[in-house]
Amino acid sequence: MLRIDHLGHRYDDGPDVLQDIELTVPEGQLVTLVGPSGCGKSTLLRCVAGLVRPSAGRITLDGEVVDGVPDRLGVVFQDYSRSLFPWLTVRENVALPLRRRGLPRAQRHAAAVAMLEQVGLADAARRHPWQLSGGMQQRVALARALAARPALLLMDEPFGALDAQTREDLEDLLLRLHRAQGMTTVLVTHDIDESVYVADRVVVLAPGPGRVRADLPVALPADRDQIATRGLPEFIALRTEVGRAVRQGTATPPPRPLGHL
């Protein structure tokens, strides 16, 4: 279980980026985080990952205070081409988090290949990341994040740089892996449809400083289907609600009457 308590953050002497964030994610839940650009989504995720030390409040993971990168954590970044190491093979990239598990080399490789099988890339194990398409690279990044069976998976706009078809494939892959491994997951996205489609729950952040504006449960059937689920009235209603919450306060004012000119 992930608990975020009165979390606040500012970078150096800058303005507050996050203020008094309260959020509890039960074990195994998949939460999506949406909000306008610059509202602090990445900052929140980096605090949870232990990459940024928050200036106020605290984060606990299964009762332990997060202070530095937690033990059982997987992270997927948006920019797969930079996040994968080009000088390592796909298999070596995926095996990176297994080193800390103290496994011998052969077992690391076997576990990495098994993980690659789950993302449909067993054949690419010996290739280099730059020999793969963008979608395949992000699958590798996902396999790396999950190879050590993390209790918590954090994803920062993981599918934002992919084309629509590939994005849908990867959303379904994430749902499948989430069901198989049951890791608590926090996914940041710009895509409101995506935030509803993959989630058990959608949290909307408001900007300046970032705080929780809406916290919406997703009451859709657990079996999601790209065509059928997106056509459900509940899906459309929820998507509208999320969209409204994201835009609230940032809507452009109506045009002024021409007579004033």
Binding site: V69, G74, R82, W87, L96, R100, H128
Partner: protein, 273 residues
């Protein structure tokens, strides 16, 4: 490289070779003709220089790889010095560069000293080493190492400093240990810069090798042979040593470039495409 690109390169090979060899061949032929026409003892023809060098160094017994006594006395010590000096400078530069590049603060503190040390023309330091060390190999090695270490050191540090912050985040989230970070992230990421530094260091090593052997008190090496032949007005030997130094420099550089291509080719193909 794709198959068709390989084929393309192979087809163009004769042309490339002709272009690359053509100019040097023409230059040597012109040199030969000009020297023969002029007939000066100060400018012997390339044919005579090569012949002289061959008799001097490479006409020895087959069991000793055709090396003559003079070659063993003059070439091997020089080769040993330049290789040992370059190896020490490379190893020291990479280790210190890694240490400096990892910490922003340490780098900022050391930067002025580094810039100063780098700005001193290396040969100017040699007299200092003559005083500190005894004449001979220790002094010569110290001159090479201290003169040639800076390009590797600074390039390695810059390479490490320039690592994509996202990659550092990845290293943190997969919880790499410090030693793993060096082997799996810092070194491979800085490798192109490290090789750029090594190429500069290699040519500096060669220059410093010759320079340190020119000093009085040296009794062997190519630099010594150069001054020795000059005092005896043996211009043919002076020319032969110069040609041999050029060939040696070219050879060492080609070896380094090949190593670089092998080391970077596979890992960094993404950056070149």
């Amino acid at each position: 490289m794709t198959a068709s690109a390989t084929l393309h390169t192979v087809r163009r090979l004769p042309r490339t070779l002709a272009l690359r060899l053509g100019v040097p061949v023409v230059a040597v032929v012109l040199w030969q003709l000009a020297a023969r026409a002029h007939g000066s003892v100060f400018f012997p023809t390339p044919a005579r220089i090569v012949e002289h060098g061959y008799h001097l160094w490479f006409s020895g017994p087959a069991g000793r790889a055709f090396l003559t006594d003079a070659a063993v006395r003059d070439l091997l010590p020089s080769l040993g010095r330049v290789l040992a000096g370059f190896a020490l400078a490379a190893a020291g530069g990479i280790v210190l560069g890694l240490a400096l590049g990892r910490s922003r603060t340490v780098y900022a503190l050391c930067d002025p000293v580094l810039q100063f040390a780098r700005a001193v023309p290396p040969p100017a330091l040699v007299p200092v080493f003559v005083v500190v060390f005894d004449l001979g190999t220790p002094m010569q090695l110290a001159s090479i190492v201290f003169g040639a270490i800076w390009p590797v050191l600074i390039n390695t540090a810059e390479g490490v400093r320039g690592i994509d912050p996202l990659r550092l985040d990845v290293a943190a989230t997969v919880r790499m240990r410090p030693a793993e970070r060096i082997v799996l992230l810092y070194l491979p990421a800085a490798l192109p810069r490290i090789f750029a530094g090594l190429r500069l260091s290699l040519s500096l090593s060669l220059i410093l090798m010759v320079f340190s052997e020119l000093l009085p008190g040296t009794a062997d090496g190519m630099g010594f042979q150069l001054t020795d032949a000059q005092t005896r007005s043996d211009l043919l030997t002076v020319w032969a040593v110069m040609v041999l130094l050029g060939a040696l420099g070219h050879l060492l550089n080609s070896v380094l470039l090949t190593v670089e291509r092998l080391a970077l080719g596979r890992h960094h193909a993404a950056h070149r495409s």
